[in-house]
Assembly symmetry: C2
Homo-oligomer: 194 residues x 2
């Protein structure tokens, strides 16, 4: 037992991340609890919160996500639904075009499409923390469908621009893509889908 570790202990953070990866892969996002991950790592649950905040933050660290969805989506959604499509595209491109994001983003795309348990875990996370968060901000009864449509275009943008490198979209500048893709997201969020 390694119980009794403290924030300063070498390797404590890494032990938590490793335990989280294992548990998320085995049980999925929704059924993995902070307290169980803490027990697996031999630490107090408070230490997990100290390092990672929420379960979503721990997941982002465990999967080496190129961004923490809550930190990106939260402020955007708080600014309201007007122009959200364009703001979302601009913010995501700003994050993803940073050189240090490239490798984790491509790795993430591969893990989502891959065979391993990470794919199912990631699906649970995307549904609850990304699509779910967007859906909760929408008043429409079809909010979940709208959120998953947003997801489909965002995923396609990541694949086309960063993974496949589909020309000329892969080299288009931000203004061009915000103008092209922003209205698509806005329509999925608040427009008429018939």
């Amino acid at each position: 037992m390694k119980r009794g570790r403290r924030p300063g202990d070498a390797g404590t953070r890494e032990a938590i991340v490793a335990a989280a990866r294992t548990r998320f892969a085995a049980h999925g996002y929704a059924r993995s609890r902070i307290r169980d991950i803490a027990a697996d790592a031999g630490v107090d649950p408070a230490l997990v919160h100290y390092f990672f905040g929420t379960k979503a933050g721990l997941f982002a660290a465990a999967m080496a996500l190129p961004f923490r969805p809550a930190e990106v989506l939260g402020p955007l959604l708080e600014e309201g639904l007007d122009g959200l499509g364009e703001r979302l595209v601009r913010r995501l491109l700003g994050i993803w075009d940073a050189p240090e994001s490239r490798e984790p983003l491509v790795a993430l795309a591969r893990s989502v499409t891959g065979h391993d348990p990470a794919a199912a875990t990631m699906r649970g996370f995307v549904e609850s923390e990304i699509a779910g968060r967007i859906a909760r901000a929408l008043p429409a009864p079809d909010a979940r469908l709208r959120a998953s449509l947003v997801g489909s275009q965002v995923i396609g943008l990541v694949l086309a621009r960063y993974v496949i490198g589909l020309a000329p979209l892969a080299k288009a500048d931000h203004d061009e893509l915000v103008a092209a893709v922003g209205p698509t997201l806005q329509r999925y969020l608040t427009g008429d889908l018939r």
Copy 2:
């Protein structure tokens, strides 16, 4: 040397497919020639055309594509640009929702996002035979950007619906998705992108 094989020879078709896979992977789509693949397989180039029609048809067979882009896109594009977005979504869903398409479609998505040379080969094929074919049907000077935007939403739809299984998009019926995604593609094809 196996030169002199005839259409009826057992394994001739398979030998051509195997040679095509190897050459496409090594040289990419654009630089692989029918005559070289035929030579690799020890057959006359006419036999390759007899079995597969064009290089695109051979590629579709070699990569076990769930559809032949030319056979799907050709007739759709011939009907004109009016309503093309909705027709495209409906046609693709009709093909991809067939049970026999599922496995090759998911395999295709994985190969495109994967590490192996198939990813680069597939990119060349998508650019020339899918995006290129759409771009040639568009009058606008930004036809290639428009075609790659269509590609991004179509790729995202495949990933969200068939690979990730993002609810509720994964279970939405065709009419619902045609109404939601069709106008997106139509705007990318012919609308105002500013």
